[in-house]
């Protein structure tokens, strides 16, 4: 009897996920588990927000040091004068991608004397990343990117996933607990277009702030404690990561404005933090593969 249970257990272990051993293997449900695991890696990184108004695109990233003893990871990477990225996931992979983006932009500038159109660059990046999802000797990049760029078509925010899907966004957020920030963005989306440069940065700060867990949020009323990085690009504004002084100034500004706009935020939403983000806990769950477990009765 016991032996039977043991066998059952081994069977279960073996076939819990039969279809995730290789990127090129389909599950019978039509899913690529390795690609989905890579997407899960993005959710382990700290949150980052991208948003834009008519003239500017802004990236705000939360820089939590991985341990008390280390400095925080760099979350924002400048690519070119008109473009920069914000990352969540495996930083080493992001470095490889940013090297690619940089050399593409540089080569474009050398050939044409102008900046790489953002949509075209992202399409090419997507094509490069897609190959990793279709070859047995590759693994998907374990990093999600938010790209803020400005070109003749105006400011852009793009989201790029490890699955090589990319999305042209009005505002977007990726990383751990980013759902709450997304809720903030969705709620204020209609106001973004018309608002000023300062406003859009403050919105970014508020959004990233709402992705913090409650206990950190209550520490000295949040804002000044926030360890964030802000970058802006737009009309007559080359991509710039704000320095410490500007950072503090904007945090203060956001704090002042926050008392009015954050107050309008229902308290209920704050309470939702923990429950909403529970599925994105630090150990990614394996996708449920019914066919792999189905025969165990």
């Amino acid at each position: 009897m016991i032996l039977r249970f043991v066998f059952h257990y081994i069977w279960l272990k073996m076939f819990r996920n039969q279809y995730d051993s290789d990127v090129t293997v389909w599950s019978p449900q039509g899913r690529l588990h390795q690609v989905e695991y890579a997407i899960a890696a993005v959710k382990l990184g700290t949150a980052t927000v991208g948003l834009k108004n008519n003239d500017y695109a802004v990236l705000v990233a939360l820089c939590k040091p991985p341990s008390e003893l280390s400095a925080s990871q760099r979350k924002l990477i400048p690519i070119d004068d008109h473009l920069g990225i914000s990352i969540a996931g495996i930083t080493a992979d992001a470095r490889v991608l940013s090297k690619y983006l940089r050399s593409e932009c540089l080569s474009y500038k050398h050939s044409y004397g102008s900046t790489y159109p953002v949509s075209r660059l992202i399409t090419n990046l997507g094509n490069k990343m897609q190959t990793t999802t279709q070859r047995y000797d590759r693994r998907p990049y374990g990093v999600g990117l938010l790209i803020a760029g400005y070109d003749e078509k105006g400011p852009h925010i793009y989201k790029v996933e490890p699955s090589a899907n990319f999305f042209n966004c009005k505002a977007m957020t990726i990383g751990s607990r980013s759902q709450s920030a997304r809720t903030y963005l969705e709620r204020h989306l209609s106001t973004f277009n018309g608002c000023s440069k300062d406003d859009i940065i403050c919105h970014g700060i508020h959004a990233i702030r709402s992705s913090l867990p409650n206990d950190e949020l209550n520490k000295d009323d949040g804002a000044s404690q926030l360890n964030i990085t802000i970058a802006i690009v737009g009309k007559d504004q080359p991509f710039k990561i704000l320095n410490n002084d500007e950072n503090t100034a904007y945090l203060e500004m956001a704090k002042e404005r926050g008392t009015s706009s954050m107050a309008s935020k229902p308290q209920k939403d704050d309470d939702n933090f923990s429950t909403e983000d529970q599925p994105e806990s630090s150990t990614p769950r394996d996708p449920q593969v019914a066919i792999g477990t189905m025969e165990i009765q």
């Binding site: 050939s111 075209r120 000797d137 003749e152």
Partner: protein, 266 residues
């Protein structure tokens, strides 16, 4: 069962044999030179050293809302007026005009490459089109690269057009990749004959108007016809503004040879 006719190589993307134990990965062959430099023909390799079928002057004038580019329709074979009805001003896309002087075969060659780039632009389907300044920069790179390979394209081109904001651009790139942009550019004899005529009429404080530019083109093409032996009294004019980019013509030069009766002594 297995279709062996399209069998893939067994080993891709891995280390090449000897990569780990040979010095520098066994990769110490000199950098690959372009094929035309390394493969000699049966009697050696000779690059072209002169233009054969040539177009003469191209004249471009920038005005407040766009550019005009004009060239006569002659392609000469030496001193022979061989092809008399060939347009040398091309519309590249809705923002760019190209006027070609120099070896016409090389013009056609570079034009084919540019047209291919325009098709690639359209394939992106993102509404981004190439701007004249970008094409000019790209031509500089290509032509300078060909110069460095000791195999230049014998061309002298005028690139004109407007950018996304409707701001006009007019530039010139020659066979060595030298480039400049100005309110008036000319190639061939036009550089000696037409350029000074246009420059002396330039108001200091403003751009030319469209009317001034058209009359200057008309006048300059007449002077070029009278003074340049490799020219015809027929020319086409490309116009590029924010709303319109097209080739007009052919137009006739108003010739008047009554003064010729008084010319004697030759």
């Amino acid at each position: 069962m297995m279709n062996n006719s399209c069998a893939q190589p067994m080993w891709l993307n891995g280390p090449s044999p000897g990569q780990f134990y040979n010095f520098m990965g066994g990769n110490n062959a000199p950098a690959q030179l372009p094929r035309e430099l390394t493969t000699a023909g049966p009697y050696g390799t000779k690059h072209s050293t002169a233009a054969i079928t040539t177009g003469s002057s191209v004249l471009g004038i920038r005005f407040d809302g766009g550019v005009l580019v004009a060239a006569d329709t002659l392609v000469s074979y030496g001193s022979l007026a061989r092809y008399q009805n060939i347009e040398r001003v091309f519309q590249i896309n809705n923002k760019i005009l190209l006027g070609g002087g120099g070896d016409f075969a090389d013009i056609q060659s570079i034009k084919r490459s540019i047209d291919q780039k325009m098709i690639e632009d359209q394939c992106c389907n993102d509404g981004v089109v190439m701007k004249p300044a970008e094409l000019s920069s790209w031509l500089t790179r290509v032509l300078y690269n060909r110069r460095c390979r000791m195999n230049p394209l014998y061309i002298d081109v005028v690139v004109g057009g407007v950018d996304e904001a409707g701001k006009p651009f007019l530039g010139n790139v020659d066979l060595r990749g030298r480039a400049y942009d100005d309110y008036v550019v000319a190639t061939g004899f036009g550089r000696h004959l037409a350029l000074p005529l246009v420059r002396e009429r330039k108001p200091k404080d403003r751009e030319f108007t469209f009317e001034e530019a058209t009359s200057l083109i008309r006048e300059s093409m007449k002077v070029l016809y009278y003074r340049d032996t490799r020219s015809l009294p027929q020319y086409t004019v490309g116009i590029c503004t924010a709303n319109d980019c097209s080739i007009k013509g052919p137009f006739k030069v108003e010739e008047n040879w009554t003064f010729a009766e008084g010319v004697s002594g030759y």
